[in-house]
Symmetry: D2
Subunit: 195 residues, 4 copies
């Protein structure tokens, strides 16, 4: 392979990712987004806790969002971090699973449901096990694990699900920031100073 | 704020993110990308190890890439995970830091440099402390921590750096996948089955 | 409370912990230890992978052991780290759960069992859900979560399970080190140099 | 090696670890412990935050302690977790480093010192770089990285530092629990319910 091939393939993959984010901007069911924002705000106003969980790359994206919520002054934790609070029936759990069938994520969803709190799922598979028990399901369109072998794309495996999902969560973060009147200076004043 | 405002702001933030990814597709210095890919392939062929590090959200993006490299059959680790190998002079370290000045990332970069391996940095600030000692610097355009208070955007704080950086890394992953002849079925056969 | 009270209580708690480790040295069923060591060596010799998992503090202890195995030259990963390999039927999974009933640990044990690999459990509750499906159960005596409210101790909550469990795993590490002929210099040469 | 050899070596290693914990119970400078407890209580009463950091196995032990502090109702975070707060001059940083020279730990200690908060170090090397800038140094006797090649022990590498350090932190936890009037039922009510 010549450098020229690398070059074209790199740019084309970037454009494919940008397009997938843009498509989600246009096609996402805005009612699902509004429901999720509304739930997060309710939990925040009642001084309850927003828990986040996902496995693998979905977990890394979830951690990014848990941190952003802290920046906004919203009490949150990522399940499995050292400080993982006790989930109670008045709390909220946001789950990320492209397939909606990830082993530990299903187990955690079921446990949370049995305790009684609210569940939001970001997935490409709303009819999945987790989708069926969630209060709000945000459908993020993109190649998830269950589709990895049947869809041909330039971006590898689940990248076209992962990146739009991070974009959706950060855009929800943007709306929350505006709604709560949080400024960039506020975030700067909450962002880690030693890390 | 009415639901209509939420709705417009959400979509506009998504589109802002998509635009930032697209701009990076067009404006990124492709030579930097080719250098990085070439280094990763050299290290892989010599059976050496690619280390990844970043703090905070840069770290979560770095972990996503470390996992993708494993999917491609490339030996990698994220520094701070349970299995963090010994970095030696023949190894490669990929760092992510928007400002190029993050405390632990600077310390780790300096230590790696003193050991003698190669450094790749993804940053919005190539003239930073880490930028100056890196062998290859990939400039990702986007609002990084050092610019958070001076640039007005819809996406909060560093989101416009974080997401394009993940897109750049996953696009590098796409090129590597193609170059190494790795298929989606190969990744499916390496992806975690219990998690 | 005066400083004198602090002083006595601190020392007494340390002695309580030391005593619990010592009791496990004497009372542990050595056959369980030998079975576990034998399994780890088999997996290593067959060039297969030892996976480790636990939630919460059991997870932090598990990560410590996963790292020690790497130091010994044994291929391992902690499930949920960036590099989590695919678990296959020829692999080994070591689980830590005081109660044997932790949500995600039960789910991961069941999934691993369905794939077909071997399971080792360290627990204070051998008759638990995970205990029943494990190939080897190492009973570590100590106050686990299921006993937290009924046993009065100086060390808080599960500390008297957690610390003896780390001692058991590190002692297994010591035996493996001896058996494999690994020296301190070998470990020093595998230990992280940038972290 | 016969099973008999395994058996003796395992038990002897357990006893060596128990002995090291017991020795630290007797030899530790109780003034250092009282200073640390007093600092943690001051920070807690002033509603400030206790940060914890360590790299590698010291980090896993630190995470265990950060979680225990949360169980006691003390606001804490482990640096690098998703929710890592901003460290401010009124906060406390507890560091774990056997050698007192670990790369990222030194960098984080220096940054915290420049911000102005208090530092507690647990180490086997009080005259180290971090030792010199810490407000309180708890000397934990045990084979740390800097002594790994010169001390012959059954327990591998730093295990004789790591386990006594966890015992010291959990014993500090026990004293805090008693002092704050926290019960096992309180911890049970704060312990993660979904994990």
């Amino acid at each position: 392979m010549k450098n020229d091939d690398f070059k074209g393939r790199f740019s084309d993959t970037m454009l494919e990712i940008a397009k997938q984010v843009k498509e989600n901007a246009n096609l996402i069911n805005i009612k699902e987004i509004l429901d999720a924002i509304s739930l997060i705000l309710q939990i925040h106003e009642a001084k309850n806790i927003t828990f986040i969980y996902g496995a693998g790359r979905s977990g890394f994206i979830g951690r990014s969002f848990a941190q952003r919520l802290m920046h906004l002054g919203i009490k949150s934790c990522f399940i499995s971090d050292a400080v993982t609070y006790q989930y109670k029936e008045q709390d909220l759990l946001i789950l990320i699973s492209g397939s909606g069938e990830t082993t530990s994520t299903v187990a955690i969803a079921n446990k949370a449901k049995s305790i009684g709190g609210k569940l939001i799922l970001l997935t490409n598979n709303p009819k999945s096990t987790i989708g069926k028990i969630s209060d709000t399901v945000i459908r993020v369109k993109g190649k998830s694990k269950n589709l990895a072998l049947s869809q041909e794309t330039l971006a590898p495996y689940t990248s076209l699900f992962d990146i739009p999902t991070l974009a959706v969560l950060d855009s929800i973060g943007g709306v929350l920031m505006n709604k709560l009147g949080v400024t960039e200076a506020d975030i700067d004043n909450r962002h880690a100073s030693i890390e």
